[in-house]
């Protein structure tokens, strides 16, 4: 027999008791991103991570250039 959502949540809470601080942080989590990620394979999740690393590096380069241009 399936446990259903409430059964799953009870099981989670028996393993990981609620922490009010974490619950407060949870309100701001973008769950749409998580749902998108859960549809991907593990490999696709890592591919996304590495693309994000490339993007961050490009942003940093652009930021450094902007700073240098301002100084010159």
């Amino acid at each position: 027999m399936r446990r259903g959502y409430n059964g799953c949540v009870q099981e989670i809470q028996s393993l990981i008791p609620l922490d009010p601080v974490i619950e407060a942080y949870k309100k701001d989590i973008d769950r749409t991103l998580l749902r998108e990620n859960l549809r991907l394979t593990v490999e696709q999740r890592f591919e996304n991570l590495m693309s994000l690393q490339d993007f961050v590096e490009e942003l940093r380069k652009a930021g450094r250039k902007l700073h240098e241009d301002k100084l010159s």
Binding site: V9, I16, Y25, I29, E43, Q53
Partner: protein, 165 residues
């Protein structure tokens, strides 16, 4: 610097290193949307496995991350045996080699909480989501609060949509 996760996993697997993926990379495997820059692994501290890990990384210029350049760092079995946790840079990116982690213990203690994942054709062990949350909670770092909240939300989403994922 970008971390080459597939290549790091490939060299560890090639040398048959016994390890479990933990930390941010394990979070990614479970669906986290947070960026991470290093591969965290807990390794088995047997002499044989230490020799394997030293061999695996030796070609890739391992060095203590954040240390001033030019220090006499000797990447050897002896160094790993005398230490426990190493945060390293390599030519493939950042890797944390951990003998144990807060709230989780060592390789043998974490083994029952790890599951096999296939990544880039490599089968490796990854800490399960529940234990990952507990280890991050045990670390008690304020910077992890958001990450813990996200991992717990992932656990709830998986339960909510267990038919879909």
């Amino acid at each position: 610097m970008k971390t080459n996760f597939p290549e790091l996993l490939r060299i560890l697997s090639h040398e048959k290193v016994q390890f479990i993926v933990v930390g941010g990379a394990a979070g990614i495997a479970h669906g986290s949307a947070m960026i991470t820059y290093d591969l965290d692994i807990v390794y088995d501290r047997s002499n044989e496995n230490i020799a394997r890990i030293v061999t695996a990384l030796s070609e890739y210029s391992p060095y203590l991350r954040g240390a001033p350049p030019g220090l006499p760092f000797d990447w050897s079995d002896r160094t790993v045996k005398n230490g426990l946790n190493f945060t390293l840079t390599t030519s493939l990116g950042a890797i944390d080699i951990l003998g144990e982690i807060a709230g989780g213990g060592n390789y043998d203690e974490l083994l029952p909480e790890a599951g096999e994942i296939e990544l880039y054709g490599i089968n490796c062990l990854c800490l399960n989501l529940e234990k990952l949350i507990l280890t991050k909670r045990a670390a008690g770092r304020a910077k992890d609060f958001n990450a813990i909240a996200e991992l717990e939300a992932l656990l709830e989403e998986r339960a909510k949509h267990s038919d879909s994922y």
